[in-house]
């Protein structure tokens, strides 16, 4: 019996040690990170203790840094739902003791190959005596610097200088904001403003950018979502008769031109279309309409 007690004790100790629960505390958050405990979802705050069995929800564009067992910090940067059990590996701290780490260091230093720039060029060529000004792999037409949106389907488009399969579209509420209010991965090189209507609110200004997935692009373009009322006030001013008499086609063409200049892309499109329909024989109206559609990639 006594013989059995010892291995039994050891096994129990091992099981207890293995089943010891990790404790997580939220260290920092960006965006809207939520924690689900017993099917109740609440906003994560700095200092929130995450108990075992909880789920951490990290949406696109957000991230959270957690501390495990008051020792190890790690970040959840990719969107997704993380259960505490899936985070176990992040709690592992350096396994080596002070002595073994010291011995490893001594050994590595003693066995580090010696060399000179003449004999081993590769080891000495990592210093670059110049600043880096990399190009963006994504280019957004300056025409889209400002887009005033009221209604319609207007694509926010870009061009890519690389054969990327996926692009990231980010929408910010401030020009210098670090965290986007909305971001999505797309395979096409445009995002329709119509698809953002559940995110953007009338009367507010937003900034958007597009980048190759996992790259950065600091170039931000403005998107202003006008309220119908504000636009009506502006539009009525344009309606005022001009000195010379004009036909309906001419009036529509004039309004389209002014609206294009004022970056009301959707509204300009409507008026160019009307002008073309009212004067189908006018080649200038037609070519302008076609160019406009091509420039803004409108359908």
């Amino acid at each position: 019996m006594k013989k059995l007690l010892f291995p039994l004790g050891i096994s129990l100790f091992c099981i207890t040690a293995r089943s010891q629960e990790n404790q997580y505390v939220v260290y920092s958050i960006k965006g809207n990170v939520n924690i689900v405990v017993n099917n109740v979802e609440s906003k994560a705050k700095i200092g929130t203790v995450i108990t075992n069995g909880s789920t951490i929800k990290v949406p696109q564009g957000s991230f959270a840094t957690l501390i495990c067992n008051e020792t190890r910090a790690f970040s959840l940067t990719k969107p997704g739902n993380y259960t505490t059990s899936s985070l176990k590996d992040s709690c592992k701290v350096g396994s080596g003791s002070l002595s073994s780490n010291y011995m490893k260091y001594v050994w590595n230093e003693m066995t580090k190959p010696k060399g000179s720039p003449e004999k081993n060029r590769k080891n000495y060529m990592s210093n670059v005596g110049a600043v880096s000004r990399s190009i963006n792999n994504v280019w957004i037409d300056p025409k889209l610097d400002t887009v005033n949106y009221v209604s319609g389907t207007i694509p926010l488009s870009w061009k890519a200088f690389t054969e990327a399969e996926e692009f990231e579209f980010k929408l910010f509420d401030k020009e210098a904001a670090e965290t986007p209010v909305h971001s999505k991965l797309v395979k096409k090189k445009h995002v329709d403003i119509k698809d953002l209507l559940n995110v953007i609110k009338p009367g507010k200004t937003y900034y958007w950018s597009a980048m190759v997935k996992d790259e950065d692009n600091e170039d931000r373009k403005m998107l202003k979502y006008w309220t119908k009322e504000d636009y009506a006030l502006y539009y009525n001013q344009l309606q005022a008769p001009v000195g010379a008499s004009e036909t309906d086609a001419e009036k529509n063409f004039r309004l389209a031109f002014v609206l294009e200049e004022a970056h009301f892309v959707g509204e300009a499109l409507n008026h160019y279309l009307k002008a073309t329909q009212l004067a189908p024989e006018n080649i200038f109206y037609r070519s302008t309409f076609m160019s406009f559609k091509k420039d803004y990639e409108l359908k």
Partner: protein
Amino acid sequence: MKRPFHKHIVHHTKRYTKHLTKYLYERDTIFATLSVFIFLILLGMIPINFYVLNPMKMALKDFDFNDIAYAKAHKDDNIKGDDRIVIVNSGILDRAEIGFLLEKVNEYKPKVIGLDIYFEGEKDPQKDSILREAFRKTKNLVAVSVAYPTEHEFKIKENYFDDVLPKRGNANLLGEEIGTIRQYTPFEKIGSQRYPHITSAIVKEYNDTAYKKLEKRHKEVETINYMRTVNNEDKKKYQVLEPEDLYNDNVDSNVLKGKIVLLGYINLDPNNIEDKKFTPMNHKFYGKQHPDMNGIIVQANIISMVLDANYIKKMPSWAAWVFALLIGWLHMSLYIRYYLEDHIWFHLVAKLTQVFSVIFFAYLGMIIYDKLKIRVDMKFTLYVIALAVDVIYFYEALVSWMHKKFGYTTIFGHHHAEHGHEQNPHHETTTQEHH
């Protein structure tokens, strides 16, 4: 008949121990060891820094073997964060914004707020008055001051808001201008009064028992026991909050309640060196490097140390010298054995011993520092080991001259007569004769 393995080990251990101790009690070994110390003392008495153009010496001037423990042996990996202290980053806020931030922090009911920002002179009257009002309202605030030396004593620089900041402490840290910060003074004599360090003033408000312990130590200078840092990677040993975290209600109320809040500048970008200090936790522990730790984290480390009474004891100088003497003596005995008996191997053995002794004694010092919190100065020991080889030649020449002149008996006498031969076939006889 083949010898059993364990006897084989015992036999060789005895053989090598004999190498080490054969000449241990010889008069010449003791005198040669003492010569090393005399040489060291004489070197130390020279009032000129000969290393002025020695890049090696200059690079190692600020070097401490214990720094390897943090830099390369990951001593701090398993140390838990200190949740008694929270750092709020003031960033580059103006005076009015700092005033608002102070009020916001105080809403979370911390026990003490340590303000690690010094305000020199008057600026915008409107913004100044907002800050002044915030100071007036924050009763649990400990503010910072700066001590500066005059010809005879230290003085405190005037802070523009002194009249509304009754609790203050100086934030000075001991170290050369671009040197590693290893020490601080818990209390400094300013004029006729004992002026506290800001960390001492904060601890006084937070934990009177810990403060009294600090006072009772009566230490003019304390060595900082660095244990925690915050970086951009995996080290987040103190909670750092940004102002927007507080304003956007992203912080759990328990994070600051009843805690020490340090309000000051922190920037984790390694290329931003504003208010950054060199510390023993720097990844690069010698040569050219970047400062690694914001002043506010240094102060946090001091507070943690005082709260836990986790002080560093320093080995007294006499103990360091005695230790160096004993180790130097053993080395000298070994060197003399090879010098006299296997001269062909002498230099090889001496160099190998020096390398392994440096590795071993640096390790020993590090382990004692880590486990017993005693900072052992191994510098003298390593100097003695390094100098012993050269001193043997000098000593041999001296005693040979004394032998000729005064008939001084020495184990080197015979060796010197035979000099020119790499090996002395009569070495045993010489020793025997001497014995």
